[in-house]
Symmetry: C2
């Protein structure tokens, strides 16, 4: 039976990435060695990391003055690195979910943190608007896509102070006007590569403005100077990222994938809105994530939650249970998820409706 | 032509690890999904990480009271995490090379650091002995194997204060009396797995004694509580580590591999000592590393350095150039390097001698 991978992360990667990973593990770039056992200082791997950074910049049209870094530790380490490198006195955070809350919590170790708005009282089911950002804040932090709750800020905000975004789960899903951001970071394990790496896009001139001593491994300037090779980088993960970005370029880049993502999300949201058994958790279409589509059973069918979960699993739908903290359902529709998987899910939702 | 992988790290892994990695990328544990795209919360991966930790503990005979962690960021991040979590007032460091120096430098951000001894004045070509460790130091830090300079502390030291060791390049190469250490850490990319992960073995009762606020991702207690899943761990790297440890167990564990490592090192050191063209950089056999065997051209044959490097490469010997900072040659003879590769290197050293 065909399996459909709706996991929220680590999550589906293009078959191209899988196939090329196997090739690279057998023989990397004609070296006779595996990508798993080659030195990061070999000329073949140096070409690989430089090529990956170049593709990253090309696909997102990153302007001059920005650096792309690949770091160990995941996005959660960035929750601490961002304030460590950028927070002098005060930072502003928008609280739109669990990850935004965690980022905010870590920042508090380094200075005053203003939560400009929060949707927590409504279980994070909308993106707050019309909040006031302190003009003297060192930066404003947003989580552009909220993987757990299924909301997304799909537009690049205009800010008067440096804008920092955690784009772990929507990077490369749409064109981004990088010039509006001072720093973008995220974990690799959604639209980029296997788990175990964070990417950072940073405008160089925002760095070097804090006076606290920063351990070398947590200092963006050190990694910029070392060209992401201050220490041994996650070699295989970078190789896999190069494959995913090559695939993305081959299919037309972020504009082309955005069109597909909008189309896939529409198919599923339309069915959730139509099917009498289900209810979307995010009412406002403007706030609905194109990457993580959350829904629950309609109140009168609450007792069908477990039966639907089991039915879906029996039909090859993997990873559609909601996050441990929310329950319900979540279908993640990342770049690599084919339209056929969304159609398959919609089809079994219809089938389940007919049965009940 | 057969390639021999003498890289210092990332470095050779068992063929078993390579083969099983390919299998896992095709289909992980019968899930129908790749190990590259499966959720870390799936029951199959939870079984994998728990199994890897169990094997890690079994092979090193880790006593009760110790935790094993798999963290992102590499050993270099541990240079900061160790003092952040353990340094209250004063720490003692033994300076035996570049990595030891880097560890010492990072510790200085967190308190007083006493360098109890250093072999820097002799290009780190020996392990200092008979130094005095301040009795009031919070811990004493050593680098058990010095990858760049080719020295190794092959015995477990008896200390009156907590002993911390960076075992990046000799973990699993010999039995270790874990009870003599409070914390052992290292990068995975030598005897364990591909690059992109650090392992930490920590005695729980040494933690929680510092008062500084610690960011969550840098707090060992947080990772212990999260069972290495506080954030998304490097899933594939952990899977690969499980394969390497399974291979090691199958061939008899650390006692068996130690015997092989001693044998391999003897073959190469004997040839370096015998061959009139070459000279070992480490004179005292007690201090000679079994993992990284360093040598240079004898003074009268200095001009043969480049020709030998090229000759060796033409014969399929990869990665035997010394570190960028030292020059000369270094053959890394990690667990997975077969005796045949050492014999092949010795054979071309003899051939080169005959030619010159």
């Amino acid at each position: 039976m065909k399996k459909h991978n709706f996991y929220a992360g680590p999550s589906i990667l293009p078959q191209y990435t899988i196939d090329k990973s196997i090739e690279g593990i057998k023989d990397f770039a004609g070296t006779g060695l595996s990508i798993l056992e080659i030195s990061h200082r070999s000329k073949e791997f140096v070409a690989c990391i430089n090529g990956t950074i170049a593709l990253f910049k090309e696909l997102l049209e990153i302007p001059a003055g920005y650096q792309v870094l690949f770091l160990g530790g995941g996005a959660s380490l960035q929750f601490a690195m961002v304030p460590m490198n950028m927070l002098n006195k005060k930072a502003a955070y928008l609280n739109t979910g669990e990850w935004a809350s965690k980022a905010l919590k870590e920042a508090k170790l380094f200075g005053e943190v203003v939560e400009v708005a929060s949707s927590k009282e409504k279980l994070f089911n909308y993106i707050p608007k019309n909040y006031i950002i302190p003009a003297d804040a060192d930066y404003f932090h947003i989580t552009s896509n909220n993987t757990i709750y299924g909301t997304e800020i799909k537009k690049d905000l205009d800010m008067k102070i440096p804008l920092v975004a955690d784009m772990s789960s929507d990077i490369f899903s749409r064109p981004v006007d990088i010039s509006k951001y001072s720093l973008i970071y995220g974990g690799a394990q959604k639209n980029l590569a296997p788990a175990g790496m964070a990417f950072v896009v940073v405008k160089e001139d925002v760095l070097g403005k804090v006076s606290r001593p920063i351990p070398s491994m947590l200092d963006y300037k050190v990694h910029i100077k070392g060209e992401s090779m201050f220490n041994t980088p996650p070699v295989f993960t970078i190789f896999a990222a190069q494959q995913t970005l090559t695939w993305l370029k081959n299919i037309g880049g972020v504009k082309a994938i955005q069109k597909k993502n909008i189309e896939k999300a529409k198919i599923l949201y339309d069915e959730i809105d139509r099917n009498r058994l289900f209810k979307p958790t995010i009412a406002d279409p403007e706030d609905r994530s194109l990457m993580n589509i959350c829904f629950v059973m309609a109140p009168e069918y609450k007792d069908l939650e477990k039966p639907f979960a089991e039915f879906a699993k029996s039909k090859g739908m993997l990873g559609i249970e909601g996050h441990r903290s929310t329950g319900g359902f979540r279908a993640s529709t990342y770049n690599a998820l084919p339209k056929e998987s969304v159609e398959a899910l919609v089809s079994i939702m219809k089938e389940f409706e007919l049965k009940n």
